[in-house]
Amino acid sequence: MTAWSLPKLRPDALAVWRRNVLVWRKLIGPALLMNFGEPAIYLLGLGFGLGGFVGNMSGMPYLAFLASGIIASSAMTTASFEGMYSVFTRMVPQRTYEAILATPLEVDDIVAGEMLWCATKSLTSGVAILIVATMLGVVHGWQALWAIPAVFLTGLCFAGPAIVMSALGSSYDFFNYYFVLVVTPMFMLSGVFYPIDTLPHVMQGLVHILPLTHAVELIRPLVTGQALTQPITNIAVLAAYALATYYLAVVLVRRRMLV
C-alpha cells in the first residue's frame, strides 16, 4: 500500500458528504441569498443592459445565451471555491480530516465525499440560476431539467483540481494562482459570454481542451432548447477530468495527511 494505490469508492464517502450538508443547513439563509441574488443581478444587469446592444447571439436572445453560459460557469466557480477554501480549512487549520482519519474512514472516502459535496453545491447554484432564468422567460421546455445532472458532473469535474490545489497549498493565498491562471481564463474563453466560433481557429482547438467549454456546449442547448452538438464527447471529457483529478487529489492528500 503506497500513496499511489488506486482509491476505492465506498458508501462511507457519504458520511463526509452528509457532514457538509449538515453544516450548510445551519447557514442556509446566506447560502441561498448568494445562490439566487448573485445570478439574478448578473442576468438583469448584463442580460438586459448589454443585451440591448447585442440583440441576438447564436440564434437566441443574449439573455438566454448568457443565462445558459452562467449556469455552467457558476458550477465551475462554486466547486472551485468549495474545493479550495473550504476543503483547505477542513484539512489544515480545522483538522477535521485528522479527526475523520481516526475513524474507519480513509483519504479515499474523504476526497470522494468532498467532491460529491462540491458538486452538490454546484447543483444548488445551478438550480437557482435555472429558476431565475425561467422567471425571466429564457428557459425552453422541460428538457432544461437535463441541465441539472450536467451541472452536477461539471461540479465533480472542477472539484477534483480544486482539491488538488488544497492538497498542495500552504496558505489561502496560494489559490490566487489557480484563480488567475485557470478559472478566470476559462471563464473568459470557454463560450460563456460569446460563442467560441468567433475565436481564431487555433484558439478554438485550444479551448476544447478546457473542461468549461464542454460544460457550456452541453448545458446551453439543454437550457435553451437547441440541438446538442457532441454530447458524448462533452460528457466523456468532463467525466475524464473528474476521475483523473479524483485520483490525483487522493494521492496528494494521502501524501499530506499520512506522513
Binding site: 458520511a15 453544516v23 445551519k26 485528522e98 479527526a99 482519519l101 481516526a102 474507519p104 495527511m257 499520512l258
Partner: protein, 308 residues
Amino acid sequence: MNMNEPDSIVSARGLRKRFGDRSAVDGIDFEIKRGRCFGFLGPNGAGKTTTLRMLLGLSPMSAGSLTVFGLPIPEQARVVRARVGIVPQADNLDPDFSVAENLEIYAAYFGIPKQLAAPRIERLLEFAALTERRTAKVDTLSGGMKRRLIIARALINEPELVVLDEPTTGLDPQARHIIWGRLAELRANGTTLILTTHYMEEAERLCDELIIMDHGRILDQGSPGELIARHVEAEVIEVRGERSVLFEPIARDCGCRLERMGTSLYCYTNAAGALIAHLQATPGMVFLHRPAGLEDVFLKLTGRELRD
C-alpha cells in the same frame, strides 16, 4: 472476545520510521497486553507520536512488522480503527457543530445507526460531565471540557483499545485530575489504554507498564516501580541555592550519586539518615527529602539538556 486473539493486543517487531535520513523511530520491539495501561514516556521528538500513528495505519512504516488485535497493519488498519478510540494531541473537534452534534457526526463516521448512537451519546455526555453544555458550540468550551469531549468522542464506538496522545497536556490541575479519574474508570472496565506523556506523575499514576523512549529507541521498559528500582537509588535529597556547593563534598564522601542542575544539587542515596542530620544541623540549608520517582529515572536515562 475472539478466542483466537492473542492476549497481547499490540505486537511490534523492528518497527522503524525514517524521514529523509533521520530515523524518528529506530527499530523498536514491544508487546502490549490486553486490559493494561501502557505508557510511552519520552522527551519531545523521541518518536512517541510517530509510533502511535504507525500503530493506527496513519503513517506508513519504513520497516518492521506490526499487528493490532492480531491483524496486520497497515493492511487491516480500517478494521482495527473501527475497534479503537483515538484521542489526538491537538484539539480537532468540529467547530461547525455543537457538543452533542460532534458525537453524532462521529458516530456516523463509524457507521453506527442513529438508534444505537443516541443512548450512547447520552451516556458519554454524562461521562464527560457535559450534559448541561450539549447545545454549546465547541469553541465556547474550556480546555478541560474540550479534552473531556474528545475522550468521550473516542469512546463512541465502544473501543477495546483507547490510544491517547498526551491526554492532559496544557490542562490545569483540576481538569487533569478529572481526566485521570475517567481514564482509571475505563481501565477498571477492562479497556486497554495506550498513552504518551511527558508528565511523570501521570505515567506513575496510570500506567501498569512503561516504555521510556529517546531518539527513536527504547531505553528501558517495565512497571514504574521496576524502573525506579532498576535505575535510581531509593531516596533523593535536593539541596537548593548557592549554599548547596558547601554540601557537595560531604554528600560525595557519603557515597551519594550527585547531579547538579543550576543552583540545585540532587543527591541520590539508599541511606539518607546521616545526610539529613547533617543538613538539619547546618543553618541556612534549604533542602527537600523525597523518595525517588519516575522523573529521576527519566532524567537519568534521557539526560538533562533542553529538548525542542
